[in-house]
């Protein structure tokens, strides 16, 4: 390679690695803010940042999103209106979500859910929006029943 090309290649490689490092540090600094949601254990115990450090817990009155699995048997619907409440969990701790409105099609017990709302007490959220999260697994229903023992039918409450 002649020296001029080598110089150009070096300049580009250097600027790319410099920009890459800058972006990496920026994203690392923002890492907690880029997360779309808190998990229930992060709300109750704070985010585990690794090597024994624990992030700040959200404060009461804060607008936030929570993501977790709907606890089986925790869905309670009102008989008179669209009020519904359910509990979300990830690895143990549970947070109660209260919501008024129509739930998405994928909403089921055991399903991953992301809810947006206001933290009204240490473990209760008044949600304004409930979104369903699905995982990266795709399979026919018969296979799912065989492999996971789950029968996904639209539940009737």
């Amino acid at each position: 390679m002649n020296p001029r090309r080598k110089k150009r290649l070096f300049i580009i490689a250097a600027s790319i690695s410099f920009l890459g490092a800058a972006t990496g540090l920026m994203l690392y600094g923002l890492s907690q803010n880029i997360d779309l949601f808190y998990t229930p254990s992060e709300i109750l115990q704070g985010k585990d940042l690794g090597n024994g450090k624990i992030g700040a817990k959200p404060q009461i009155g804060q607008r936030l999103r929570i993501g977790g699995m709907v606890v089986e048997g925790s869905v309670v619907r009102s008989e008179h209106n669209l009020d519904v409440s359910f509990r979300l969990t990830d690895t143990g701790p549970e947070v109660t979500v209260k919501y008024t409105g129509i739930l998405p099609d994928l909403f089921r017990e055991g399903q991953g859910i992301v809810a947006q709302g206001i933290l009204i007490s240490a473990d209760t959220i008044e949600a304004t929006e409930v979104l369903a999260k699905h995982d990266e697994e795709y399979m026919p229903p018969e296979l799912a029943e065989k492999m996971k023992g789950i029968k996904h039918v639209k539940p009737e409450y």
Binding site: L27, L36, L103, L131, A132, P140, P141, H152
Partner: protein
Amino acid sequence: MWKWLHPYAKAETTYKLCYRLLPYFSWLAVITLVSGSIWGLFYAPSDYQQGDSFRIIYFHVPTAIWSMGAYTSMAICGLIGIVWQIRNAELAVYAIAPVGAAFTFLALISGAIWGKPMWGAWWVWDARLTSELILLFLYLGVIALYNSFEDKRTAARASSILAIVGVINVPIIHYSVEWWNTLHQGASITKLDKPSISPDMLWPLLLNISGFLFVLAALVCLRLANQILINDARRPWVKAMVSEKTNKAEQSKNKATLADKE
């Protein structure tokens, strides 16, 4: 070692290569897309969670994968153009940009159409969606930058630099679902582990992924050939080619008029 590549630095050779490859890419695209789509949309089983709505995967995933693939190849072309000062590589940057932008746009739109029934929202500002939107803006930036210079040499250099710098976004898009909590699902097939999608759903998806790659390749060939032609419009080889074609056309016209007279 790289000797075989050298002829393609010449505009004429690359122009001819583009037109030689174009029919192959087009036919492969038609065959794979038609078979993949029919298989995926009608014969693949429905999903245990999402039912039939998951079938938009056969459109969403290929466009999303190649929106990133096109960007990476655009950045590589930019790098070659800047370091080795090869004109064809610079033209390739501008040839790829609008096609890649279209793929990104289609990925975003099909994602929104999928998101509404499944998640319950058209758009969420999560890391995957946001970084893909930034990719669209990068493409539009490259196109806009190229068109904002009168001198096409400067234009190509400026847009190449933007293309190279923006490549940092590609790994961010890919790993966004692993690094952060997102509403978007994690990777189903582009991971080292075995794919978490059952084989009878996976095969049509792979067909469509290769199909969209051929669409991308065919469109880029066509655009690159046109860019070369526009750029070299006053060069002898283009003039020779055009006069050859007009001669042939006139000859056949003469023959036709002769036949008419008889």
